[in-house]
Structure formats: structure tokens, C-alpha cells
């Protein structure tokens, strides 16, 4: 792809990478309510809309519930729509998250992972987005600012092919407020990748309809069946679109990322920016001759069961590191990974680690400690707390 030569590299914070992704996607309607650590996304987009840099409507609202309501409506009206939030804001949207899925509005939302209150905390933790697991939204986790920009563009493509709302997730501060070099692609290339948005049931004044109809038990279930089918389709679409993206933009993403796994006996499973730390630690362990690798989960919904099984089957031990917790059970990625591996051949023992809640740092040494702890243990445990003072 020759067009790529016209790209420009710039240093961007993760939140600005989102904004540039939104701009390249030619979003038409934005509605958002400020919340740390998301605020600079909506500020940047408001700025872009005000100056005309981005030809979109920015709808100011009084709450996140209204923000998501506005973009669901605009999406169903046939406009490419975007919102962004974090933590409490996402929790407030909960009702409308189900609505977006049920009405099949391919809205894209960026959620900046932030711990929930109380106790009040603005730092990163994945519980906010993972708690919305069953709302029917696609969820894609990111490791770097470049990936954030790329995934924002990809999210529209995927969402609009399967008519499912999509959440792009990045870590508070570690990504949102940290600068990294980011390549901003030429608009023509993005336009070629991402065609204008159309919804088959879009509002049409000549053919009026009300979206969100009543469905009796007779066929409610059929609508739900279709949503599940769309999720299954989304898995295929994700693969296709990441392939095409790699061809056009030179960056390859997959449902799960594999790092130093070829001959690995031990696998560390995690998601988000902690993967970078884990990779760094694993490289050190490799120098010591340890056969260990990293599997980073990028696509959380739909859950890539096949890929997870392919990667993890036959390993000696697996440790899942969760920066989140489902109280009364365990870390959520751990839960999901275990469930995916149930019934798989050559299933390894899987150990659940919980670390870094409320933005506590997860340092390379912590990863090495976890690896060594896993190696030492014989019986898997659901929750092995890392670094908690008891």
C-alpha cells in the first residue's frame, strides 16, 4: 500500500489517539458527558467540531445516560455516532447499553478503564467495562496508543457490519494520559477501509417507523437468537477486518496476541496495557531460560474460545492476571478463560491472580513473582492476591 507513505507520526496521549481515530472515521454525531479520565477525549472532539476540523454534531448533555441515548438515536437515524465515558459514567449508561444492542445501533464507545467508587479512585481497573459483559456490546481491549487509534477505526467497521454496539477499552492514565508516538493515517486510506455508514432500518421520514418495538414471547426469543448469531458473526468479521487492516495499514491485530509462545510451557494471560509489562518481564525470564510466554486477550466479546483453546491447550500451567474482580468469585478474565478451556483437550491447570486494583502499579518484578509463584504451586486457586497487605 503506497498511500501509507503519506502518514504522519505524531506524539499523542491515548485520549487524543481516540479523538484522531474518531476524526478519521468521519463520525457524524458525538455526545458525551465529561468524566475523568475520559474528559480530554470529548474536549478534543468538541474542539474539532467547533473549528470544523471534524464535520459532526456535538450534542452536549446532562448525564452519560443522555449521552448514550442521544447516540443510539442518531445511530438509528443513520449517522455514524460516538460517545466516550469511564467508570461511574459507564455504570449510569447500563440500561441504555442493553437498549443499543436490542435496537441494533452500531454505536462506538470508548471506555477508559477506571475503578468504581466508593472508595473514590480515578485510576485504572477493568471492572467497569467487564461488569457490562452481558449487555451484548463487543468489547476490545488495547495495549498502546497506536492500537487505540487503530481499534477505534476498526470498531466502526466491525460494528457497522454486524449492527452491534462496540466498546473500545483503554487504561486510565497509563494509556489515556501518557504520550506515545502514533501514526495518523491519510484520510483517503481510512475512507477506503471504512465506507459511509448505512443502517437498513434507519429512520426515514418517507417510510416512518418506530425503533424499539414490543415483542411478545412468540418472537422475542428470535430477536435474541439473532443477536447471538450476530456476535458469532462478529468473531469472523473481526478476523476478516483485522486481516484487511493489516494489508492496508501494516498493523496486524488478532483476537488474542501471542508473545514468545512457540515453545512456552507456561503462559501468562492478561489484557490491556499490563501486557507490555508482562512482555518485558517474560523477555527477562526467557534470558534465564524460562519457557514462558504471554497471551494478551484483545477481543473479550465475542469471546474467542477457539483461539484461546488453540493457544492454551497442551501447556504446563497458565496464570491469568486480572486487574478486576467479580466479588464472590474471581477475576473475570480468569473465569472466562477457565470456562473456555472446559472440555478442551490437554487442558492445563489455570491459576487466577488478582493484581493492580484501583491503579496500583504492576511492575515487571510483580509479573516475575507471579510466574514463579505459579511454577511453585501444585493446585490451581481461583484467587491468588498479588501485593495485597493482609
Amino acid at each position: 500500500m503506497k498511500l501509507i507513505e503519506k502518514s504522519q507520526y505524531t506524539v499523542l496521549k491515548g485520549n487524543y489517539a481516540v479523538a484522531y481515530g474518531v476524526k478519521l472515521a468521519r463520525v457524524e454525531v458525538i455526545s458525551a458527558y465529561p468524566i475523568t479520565p475520559q474528559t480530554t477525549i470529548s474536549e478534543k472532539l468538541a474542539d474539532m467540531t467547533a473549528t470544523g476540523e471534524l464535520k459532526a454534531r456535538f450534542i452536549t448533555v446532562e448525564s452519560e445516560h443522555s449521552a448514550i441515548s442521544a447516540v443510539i438515536a442518531s445511530s438509528l437515524a443513520g449517522a455514524r455516532s460516538f460517545t466516550a465515558t469511564a467508570s461511574q459514567g459507564l455504570a449510569l449508561m447500563h440500561e441504555m447499553l442493553h437498549w443499543a444492542t436490542g435496537a441494533r445501533a452500531p454505536v462506538v464507545m470508548v471506555n477508559v478503564n477506571r475503578a468504581l467508587a466508593p472508595s473514590w479512585n480515578i485510576w485504572t481497573e477493568q471492572t467497569d467495562s467487564l461488569a457490562q459483559r452481558d449487555t451484548g456490546w463487543l468489547q476490545i481491549y488495547n495495549e498502546s496508543n497506536q492500537e487505540v487509534l487503530d481499534t477505534t477505526i476498526l470498531a466502526f467497521k466491525i460494528a457497522e457490519r454486524v449492527y452491534l454496539p462496540t466498546m473500545v477499552v483503554l487504561d486510565a492514565f497509563i494509556l489515556s494520559h501518557t504520550s506515545e508516538p502514533v501514526e495518523i493515517y491519510p484520510q483517503e486510506l481510512v475512507d477506503e477501509f471504512l465506507p459511509p455508514y448505512e443502517h437498513p432500518n434507519a429512520i426515514n421520514f418517507d417510510d416512518p417507523r418506530a425503533i424499539g418495538a414490543f415483542a411478545r414471547p412468540d418472537y422475542y426469543m428470535e430477536f435474541r437468537y439473532n443477536i447471538q448469531k450476530a456476535h458469532e458473526e462478529a468473531l469472523r468479521v473481526f478476523k476478516e477486518e483485522t486481516e484487511l487492516f493489516a494489508e492496508m495499514f501494516g498493523r496486524k491485530y488478532d483476537t488474542v496476541e501471542e508473545f514468545m509462545l512457540d515453545d512456552a510451557d507456561y503462559v501468562l494471560v492478561l489484557a490491556g496495557s499490563t501486557a507490555t509489562t508482562a512482555k518485558y518481564a517474560v523477555a527477562q525470564l526467557r534470558e534465564r531460560g524460562e519457557k514462558v510466554g504471554v497471551m494478551r486477550i484483545k477481543l473479550f466479546r465475542p469471546f474467542p474460545v477457539e483461539d484461546v483453546r488453540r493457544v492454551l491447550s497442551g501447556r504446563k500451567k497458565v496464570a491469568v492476571i486480572d486487574r478486576n474482580l467479580s466479588f464472590g468469585h474471581s477475576g473475570i478474565f480468569y473465569m472466562e478463560t477457565k470456562a473456555a478451556m472446559y472440555g478442551a483437550k490437554d487442558r492445563p491447570p489455570i491459576f487466577g491472580y488478582v493484581a493492580g486494583l484501583g491503579g496500583r502499579d504492576i511492575r515487571p518484578q510483580d509479573i516475575i513473582d507471579i510466574y514463579e509463584d505459579m511454577k511453585r504451586r501444585e493446585e490451581p486457586e481461583n484467587i491468588i492476591w498479588k501485593g495485597v497487605r493482609v
Binding site: A103, R104, N201, R209, A210, A213, Y219, E222, F223, N226
Partner: protein, 544 residues
């Protein structure tokens, strides 16, 4: 038998949707209160004696339709160019905007619109009724009655003893306050409408009252209160007439007056005579019977102007005696407590001249005894009906000295009564709709903005001219700016807020106005809450 629901999942649309219409569910049945879009009125209109449609005409002004603004204004006030200069503007006192920042400058807006349309006013009526009405006296009351009766299609003939119409306004009010050109234009409008004038003709001298009654279907007596009142105290005959002075000055004379002069009076005329004297170079003192705080509101403006110009006042004083000594007038005055002279307060004062400037009284000498009683006329205050069939009374001839707007209203209401009489109907006074108070104004919609000051001469500039108009009013730009401040209380100006806010789209937009669709309106009341000007009421459907 076909299955009731045989859709397969693959046959369903992507989004669950209703394809027919939700109109099948007439949700209006859920309502216990219904929004009613009402024609209400504003405190300004309610206070205005002649009920000028103030929020209405200002709205047209804001929308740039100046012709419509003039039209609405003329509905209840035919002479806005006159009231825009002379009215004491009681409308501005209760203005809801005054409770927010400053009241709307209604008088100046009225003047602007009146002047804008002045030369085009006056069209003959579309249909003639064939009925004939005589009006005795071509002052403001007669002119006002003539305007409305003629516009109803009646033939109107005004009899006046003077060579031209206008009465007190033409022969006494100074040029700096009301330019003759304005009055001439108003008279011209009446002429264009087809009102006939019989001038230099005094009823009772040149033509008899009985003759008028026979010749016409109705007669309106609007001869005013044009006889200056002269108090009774020793030496009063030594004093000069302020009325004559005003008249001379109006006609162009500039008599020499200088030094300390006194003006005796009890109202507008006294203040105006003092101002004329100030301009002629004298140092006038007004001897006024009440305390300063008791000056009626209708005279406040002219009092303030006089005070600014250096006119001095002796309040709560009455003259007891006048004498002439060495070419000077020695005036004896005493304190007046409102009922009687306060004992031992007499004091002598020396003036170059003393002018009598009391308000006028009516001369009913030419009228039969049947409608007179104790120097006044037996007439209904509003309809002007008298015991004589077909004879009506309007204006100051029955009310005594009154502000211009009250006189205009009298002409207008009597015209309505006469019109009803000529058509064989019963006269019913107009009803005032509900007044919207400040508590119903959603001030969030109105940014604070100070009142736009009109252009006017400074007191120093004013006292140097007897002809240059003292208040210059608004330019169109200033008028528009001021008009935009108006809340338009109680008047639906089709702002569209209810239409935008209705969560159920049950407020429709029909011919540029909101209309509630009661089939579907659930009565949530959002429209009523968001109406910036209190037009929409929530009315109980029925008793609980």
C-alpha cells in the same frame, strides 16, 4: 389454520420496530391535566387605560414586520405618535421585566412604530353603513372617537369652533413637546379615512344642539374641559393667564418675561407653563397645593423635566391674596394641609409676574338641562350614554382633566358604544383576559440586558429652544434592540419552545402556531413549564 406467528429468526428485521403506527394508542386518555394554550395578557396591557396590545406589537417589531406592529398598535390606540410623546406611560410601572432588570421602554417603542407608519395611516372603510354621527369638539377624545367610528363605516362629522382639529394639543401644548407636524399628520389620517370637519363652528352659537340631534343618528359630546379654572381670592384679576401665554408661544410669539415669576396651578398646565417661562428667560416658581410626594404619577414626568430645567417649587401652598406694588406682584401664600389653610403660615412673596395655570373645566352651557347636573353631565363613564337617546359624552367633558391615554380610551369606548347603538346591539365593555405575572416568566430564557436609553436633549439644551423637540426617541436599530428585551408576557409569539420540548410530539405546528393534539397528549406539563411567557396553563380535566 395458519399459525399466528410463524416468523423465523432470519425473517425478522435487524432492529425490532413498529412499522404501522403508534397512533393506535391514543395516550390522551392517561391525562388528568391538559395543557391549554391561552390568549392572556401582560401587566402593561392590563394597566394601559386604552389596553394597547403591547406584547403583540413589540413581537411584530422584533420579527421585523413594522407594518403589522403599527396595525396592532392602532387597534386600541389610534394616535401612538401622540401618546409616544405625551403619555405618562403607566404601562411601564408593572412591567414584569422591571422585576428582572429594567422595564421595557414601551412608550418609546410606541412612538417609534407610530412615527414609522404616521404618513401612511388612514384608509377609508371598506363598507359604508349609511349612519351619520356628529362629534362636538375636535380634541383628542373627538378625534379618537372619529377614528374608530369611521373605521366601522359610519359617516363622521366633527364640529369644532377652532380653525383646526387638536384642541388643547394644537393650541396650548408647546412645540418642543409635540411638534405640530405630528398632529397635522394625525389629522391628515382622519381626513384620508373620510372624516368630515366643520371648522370655525361653535355648537350652541353657530349651530344648535337640537339641530345636530335631528340631523344625525348619534351625537358625541367631546367638547373637553377647555375653560381655564380661575380660583377666587382677592387680587386674582391682577394676575396673568398661563393658558394665554402657552397659546401665544404656540402661535410663535416670544413675549419678554424675566426675573422671578410664579405659576399657580394644580397639574400638567402649571408645570408646562413654568417650563415655557424658563425658556423665555424667566426664573419660575410653581406654587403647588400638595406635597412633592403627592404629585400624581401622571404628572411625574413633566415635573421631573421641569425640575431638571431649574424650575423651583413651593409645595403644599395655596395663594390667599395678590397685590401689585411698584410694578411687582406681592403674592400671599399659606400652607395647605390638603383640606384647609394652616393657621399662621401666611407669607408674602414678591414676583415680577404671576401666572394662573390651573387645569380646565368644561362649559356645558349649550346643552339642555336634562343631561346636566351640578355642572357635570349625566353620563356613563365607559359607554358615555346619557339620558338623551343617541347622545353620548366622551373625554374630559365628562371626566375632567385627564392624561392623554385616558382621553383616547374614552373616545374609543364611546365609539364602540355608539357603534353598538347604531347597529341596534347592546354595548358590552371589553373583558380583560388573565394577566401573566412575573412568577410565570421563565427568566432563564432571557439574558439580562439594560433598558436602551432613548435619545433626548440635556436640560441645558432644552431651555434654549421652544421649538426643538426635547425627546428624540429611538432609531430603528435602538428600537429593535429594546424590543428584543420584551418578555411578551401572556402572548404566544410562536417561539416554538413547547413544540421542541414536548416529549411525545403531541404539540403540532399548525399555520405557524402550536396546537395541542389532545388525542395523544399525556398531560405531562413540560410545555407549560417551558413556555417562557406563561401562555400555557395546565387545566384539570375534571374534578377528582
Amino acid at each position: 389454520m395458519a399459525k399466528k406467528y410463524d416468523f423465523k429468526a432470519s425473517e425478522l428485521p435487524i432492529s425490532p420496530m413498529t412499522l404501522t403506527t403508534t397512533l393506535e394508542n391514543p395516550t390522551g386518555g392517561w391525562r388528568s391535566f391538559k395543557p391549554v394554550i391561552k390568549n392572556k395578557t401582560a401587566p402593561c396591557t392590563a394597566t394601559c387605560p386604552t389596553k394597547v396590545l403591547i406584547p403583540h406589537f413589540i413581537d411584530s417589531l422584533v420579527k421585523g414586520d413594522l407594518d403589522m406592529a403599527a396595525n396592532l398598535l392602532h387597534r386600541n390606540n389610534p394616535f401612538p405618535s401622540i401618546t409616544g410623546r405625551l403619555c405618562h406611560a403607566p404601562c411601564e410601572l408593572p412591567c414584569n421585566r422591571g422585576k428582572y432588570d429594567e422595564p421595557i421602554s414601551i412608550k418609546q417603542l410606541e412612538r417609534f412604530v407610530g412615527d414609522y407608519y404616521l404618513d401612511r395611516k388612514g384608509k377609508p372603510p371598506r363598507r359604508e353603513t349609511g349612519k351619520r354621527v356628529a362629534i362636538v369638539g375636535g380634541g383628542l377624545a373627538g378625534m379618537s372617537a372619529a377614528y374608530y367610528l369611521r373605521s366601522k363605516g359610519h359617516e363622521v362629522v366633527i364640529y369644532d369652533r377652532n380653525p383646526n382639529l387638536g384642541g388643547y394639543l394644537r393650541y396650548y401644548v408647546p412645540e418642543y413637546r409635540l411638534p405640530l407636524a405630528v398632529l397635522d399628520a394625525e389629522v391628515g389620517a382622519l381626513e384620508r379615512m373620510g372624516v368630515k370637519f366643520v371648522l370655525n363652528t361653535e355648537v350652541g352659537r353657530d349651530i344648535g344642539f337640537e339641530e345636530l340631534k335631528e340631523k344625525y343618528d348619534a351625537v358625541i359630546l367631546a367638547h373637553g374641559s377647555s375653560i381655564p379654572y380661575t380660583p377666587d381670592f382677592p387680587g386674582v384679576d391682577l394676575l396673568k393667564s398661563g393658558w394665554d401665554l402657552m397659546k401665544e408661544v404656540r402661535e410663535g410669539a416670544r413675549p419678554k418675561v424675566s426675573g422671578k415669576v410664579a405659576v399657580l396651578g394644580n397639574g400638567y398646565t402649571a408645570f408646562e407653563v413654568a417650563r415655557v417661562l424658563r425658556r423665555l428667560g424667566a426664573d419660575p416658581f410653581v406654587v403647588y397645593p400638595t406635597a412633592k410626594i403627592r404629585i400624581p404619577f401622571s404628572d411625574r414626568e413633566i415635573f421631573t423635566l421641569a425640575e431638571e430645567e431649574g424650575v423651583k417649587f413651593f409645595f403644599a401652598k395655596v395663594p390667599l391674596k395678590a397685590d401689585r406694588r411698584d410694578g411687582k406682584v406681592i403674592l400671599t401664600v399659606a400652607e395647605w394641609d390638603g383640606k384647609a389653610v394652616v393657621p399662621a403660615t401666611e407669607r408674602e412673596m414678591e414676583f415680577e409676574e404671576v401666572f394662573l395655570a390651573y387645569e380646565g373645566t368644561a362649559d356645558h352651557g349649550f346643552l339642555p338641562d336634562t343631561i346636566r347636573s351640578n355642572g357635570t353631565l349625566k353620563a356613563d363613564r365607559r359607554s358615555g350614554e346619557t339620558p338623551l337617546e343617541g347622545v353620548f359624552v366622551a373625554g374630559e367633558s365628562v371626566s375632567g382633566p385627564s392624561p392623554v391615554v385616558n382621553v383616547i380610551y374614552s373616545g374609543r369606548s364611546v365609539a364602540a358604544a355608539v357603534d353598538a347603538y347604531l347597529r341596534g346591539r347592546t354595548y358590552t365593555p371589553e373583558n380583560m383576559p388573565e394577566v401573566v405575572g412575573y412568577e410565570r416568566i421563565v427568566t432563564d430564557y432571557f439574558p439580562k440586558a439594560p433598558r436602551v436609553p432613548e435619545m433626548r436633549l440635556s436640560p441645558a439644551e432644552r431651555i434654549h429652544s421652544l421649538t426643538r423637540e426635547e425627546v428624540l426617541g429611538y432609531t430603528q436599530e435602538l428600537a429593535m434592540k429594546e424590543a428584543e428585551r420584551c418578555f411578551n408576557c401572556g402572548f404566544c409569539n410562536a417561539c416554538g419552545n413547547c413544540y421542541v420540548f414536548c416529549p411525545d410530539y403531541t404539540i403540532k405546528w399548525v399555520h405557524g402556531r402550536p396546537k395541542v393534539d389532545y388525542e395523544y397528549c399525556k398531560g405531562c406539563g413540560v410545555c407549560s413549564e417551558e413556555c417562557p411567557r406563561g401562555v400555557i396553563d395546565m387545566v384539570k380535566e375534571r374534578e377528582f
